[in-house]
């Protein structure tokens, strides 16, 4: 999975990445060759947390103050011209960027055109370079396609593909379904396989994926394929179309009947992220396959759907410990003198019903 690649102006041969480890950061050394170099200084990535911190093995400290940003106000006071001795104008820098010059080359230009760089202490020079790298250098990271990473990508770019599932809701869903390496899961999944993949990641024993749509498996599994699982992991998944659970069909087909028999009260977890049909009808359709005391977790964007399901389970005494909850998750910017919750948030966590099946 190579995200952020679209940010580059330079042509980069991704073949360079083969053999590299997940988690490594790279930047473009120069724009012509597109050669990638590995980032080795972590503080280049986290400079903003450290603006007024003395870290590393610096010997001199007296120049640090000169490049501290003032407290961010709401009136753009956080803009500070910290480079008055820079001979390149803002417009010239922008022009160089437009020409496709790599961040690395741009910073070399800035250093050469700085009247004071050579007069700085070594510590101050390092700090200057880190700041400039964070500003001009585009770095990217090789990430392993995990449920967390895939969920984050899709919820930011194509939330409809994964039924609006957010990372925090997926986290709660998996936990309320008590997913662990012992789980046998009956799954009603319309997240293109994001959820199925998350279960495989937890090394569950067995998955019965009940299909409620007539589309090709490949389309339905678009995201599942991005996990790149080996075949031995994938074979734990069984797919079954919901019509094969119709009583009339099951009874007339002795082979199907035998299979269904072995799966009756077999599954100790049930997860539903699907609402093409009424969720009460969907639940009733697969209910007989769920073991008593199994953990049930259902996601919906609409509280109305879950309220109906809760009402059904409660009225018919089919479950206990039934709970409908909505998560509220917000990221915080924790920076020196500029700590506040992020100004924008994903406002739709959806709703999660959890319960324990009883008889």
């Amino acid at each position: 999975m190579l995200r952020k690649i679209k940010h580059f102006k330079a042509m980069v041969d991704l073949g360079q990445l083969i053999g590299k480890e997940y988690g490594q950061f790279f930047e473009v050394r120069d724009s012509k060759s597109g050669e990638l170099i590995e980032v080795t200084d972590v503080h280049q990535l986290t400079n903003q947390f450290l603006e007024d911190v003395d870290f590393g093995d610096a010997e001199e400290n007296e120049e640090v103050k000169e490049i501290i940003d003032p407290v961010a106000g709401r009136d753009n006071r956080d803009y500070v011209d910290d480079n008055k001795s820079q001979k390149l104008s803002h417009e010239e820098i922008e022009a160089l960027k437009k020409q496709g010059m790599s961040g690395n080359e741009l910073i070399q230009q800035l250093v050469q055109n700085s009247e004071t760089f050579s007069k700085r202490t070594k510590f101050s020079q390092e700090k200057y370079l880190r700041k400039k790298k964070q500003k001009y250098q585009i770095t990217f990271q090789l990430k392993k396609p995990t449920a967390l990473e895939l969920c984050n990508v899709y919820s930011q770019t194509q939330p409809a593909k994964i039924m609006g599932l957010r990372a925090d809701s997926l986290a709660l869903l998996l936990n309320m379904a008590n997913i662990n390496q012992e789980s046998r899961v009956i799954l009603l999944d319309k997240t293109k396989g994001l959820l199925t993949g998350a279960l495989i990641e937890k090394d569950v024993r067995e998955i019965l994926h009940v299909e409620f749509t007539g589309h090709q498996l490949k389309l339905q599994n678009e995201i599942f394929l991005e996990y790149n699982y080996k075949p031995d992991k994938v074979k734990r998944i069984q797919y079954l179309h919901h019509t094969n659970l119709d009583q009339s069909i099951v009874q007339s087909d002795s082979l199907l009947n035998a299979i269904i028999q072995t799966k009756t009260k077999h599954y100790n977890s049930m997860i539903m992220v699907h609402e093409d049909f009424n969720q009460v009808e969907m639940y009733n359709h697969i209910e007989h396959l769920i073991q008593p005391s199994a953990s049930i977790a259902v996601f919906s964007l609409y509280i109305q759907s879950l309220a109906e399901l809760k009402d059904h389970l409660l009225t018919n005494k089919k479950a206990v410990n039934i709970k409908i909850e909505e998560l509220w998750t917000r990221e915080y910017q924790v920076l020196p003198m500029r700590t506040h919750p992020n100004m924008n948030m994903h406002g739709a966590s959806g709703f999660i019903l959890s319960a324990v099946k009883v008889e």
Binding site: V42, H43, A171, S183, S293, A294, Q304, R330, Y332, V334
Partner: protein, 339 residues
């Protein structure tokens, strides 16, 4: 206490409290949950010739062991009332602890498990152990081959944790409990008999901190984590977060992200409105623990017949509302990755 053994992928696996059994029958030594209502959840261990008592009367263990399935209803000896007997899941386990001590709650636990990307085989460090609520959820995620090293400042709590983990089938094969002040002494850990490192530098996949001065533990955490290993810190106050975050950046963590997660619980009810044509009093049918209750909102008693008719024809509009009493804050969760 006899535990069943199962063969999985050629590895003998000792069962734990969350283990699956295809017959679903309760056995001696099992920990089960007695569910009276959402507010009344108890854990008990099955022992022959013992009896569980509650307001409904006696529930002899001998009538359960080898006889009843998890997830079924059981009447008391006197038939005065019934309870559900459930296999614990990690959420119910956490809820039953919440009734006796301050713990990390399920929404936060879920975030920790998912964002630390815990999976079977992981070697995880946790401090402090506290009530062991998070420990059990971590172990759920990393068994059968993973191992948790949990450190607790308070000796009584660490001893109690060992007993709990043993009862639940995790100790000693999946967890090591250490009584230690980690702020001063760090996480490096040797086997006392062999002298071999149990926790050495660069060997841990994930670490969780819930400590009063987390910034002091961050350098120790950096030391034992693998490259790419993940740190999670839980702190209630923003000042603790600010100090911890700065120390993480200083030590060489990246992707330092701080979140707050709250959960809002919703109740649901059937709301019957009056009609202009047919002046019937509004009725709110609320539910609690599966027992329907009726609660008249108005003050005068009109049209009882109509009300009953209405109820039969139409239960009213199904409405939901968040509960008034709700948790406003638990703490901030900060995640970071070792470079």
């Amino acid at each position: 206490m006899v535990k069943l053994l199962e063969i999985r992928d050629g590895v003998k696996t000792k069962n734990n409290v969350f283990s699956y059994t295809s017959d679903n029958i309760i056995r001696e030594g099992d920990t089960l949950v007695v569910f009276e209502s959402g507010d009344n959840i108890k854990q008990i261990v099955m022992k022959r010739n013992q009896t569980f008592q509650n307001k409904f009367g006696a529930f002899p263990h001998n009538d359960i062991i080898d006889k009843l399935q998890f997830g079924t209803k059981m009447y008391s000896k006197t038939m005065m009332g019934w309870v559900y007997i459930l296999r614990p899941n990690s959420h119910i386990y956490t809820s039953s602890l919440a009734q006796r001590t301050q713990i990390l709650y399920t929404p936060d636990i879920s975030q920790v498990l998912f964002r630390l990307e815990l999976r079977p085989g992981f070697r995880v460090v946790e401090s402090g152990t506290g009530s062991g609520s998070l420990s059990v959820s971590i172990m759920k995620a990393i068994v059968p081959t993973g191992h948790l090293f949990t450190y607790e400042f308070n000796q009584v709590r660490s001893q109690r944790a060992i007993e709990d983990f043993q009862r639940l089938g995790f100790y000693p094969q999946n967890v090591h409990v250490t009584h230690r002040d980690v702020l001063n002494n760090g996480f490096l850990l040797k086997d006392e008999s062999t002298g071999e490192f149990l926790v050495n530098e660069n060997t841990i996949d994930a670490i969780f901190l819930d400590l009063p001065s987390p910034e002091k533990a961050v350098p120790h955490a950096y030391k034992v984590l693998k490259r790419g290993g993940k740190l999670c810190n839980f702190s209630p106050c923003i000042e603790q977060v600010q100090k911890a975050v700065q120390e993480m950046a200083r030590q060489g963590f990246y992707e330092i992200k701080t979140y707050e997660t709250l959960s809002k619980d919703f109740s649901s009810s059937h709301h019957n409105y009056q009609s202009f044509k047919q002046q019937v009093k509004p009725t709110i049918v609320t539910e609690e623990n599966g027992n329907k209750q009726q609660d008249n909102l108005g003050d005068t008693n009109t049209g009882n017949l109509n009300k009953r008719q209405l109820k039969q024809k139409d239960k009213g509009m199904l409405v939901t509302a968040p509960k008034i009493e709700s948790r406003g804050h638990t703490g901030f969760l900060t995640f970071a990755i070792k470079f």
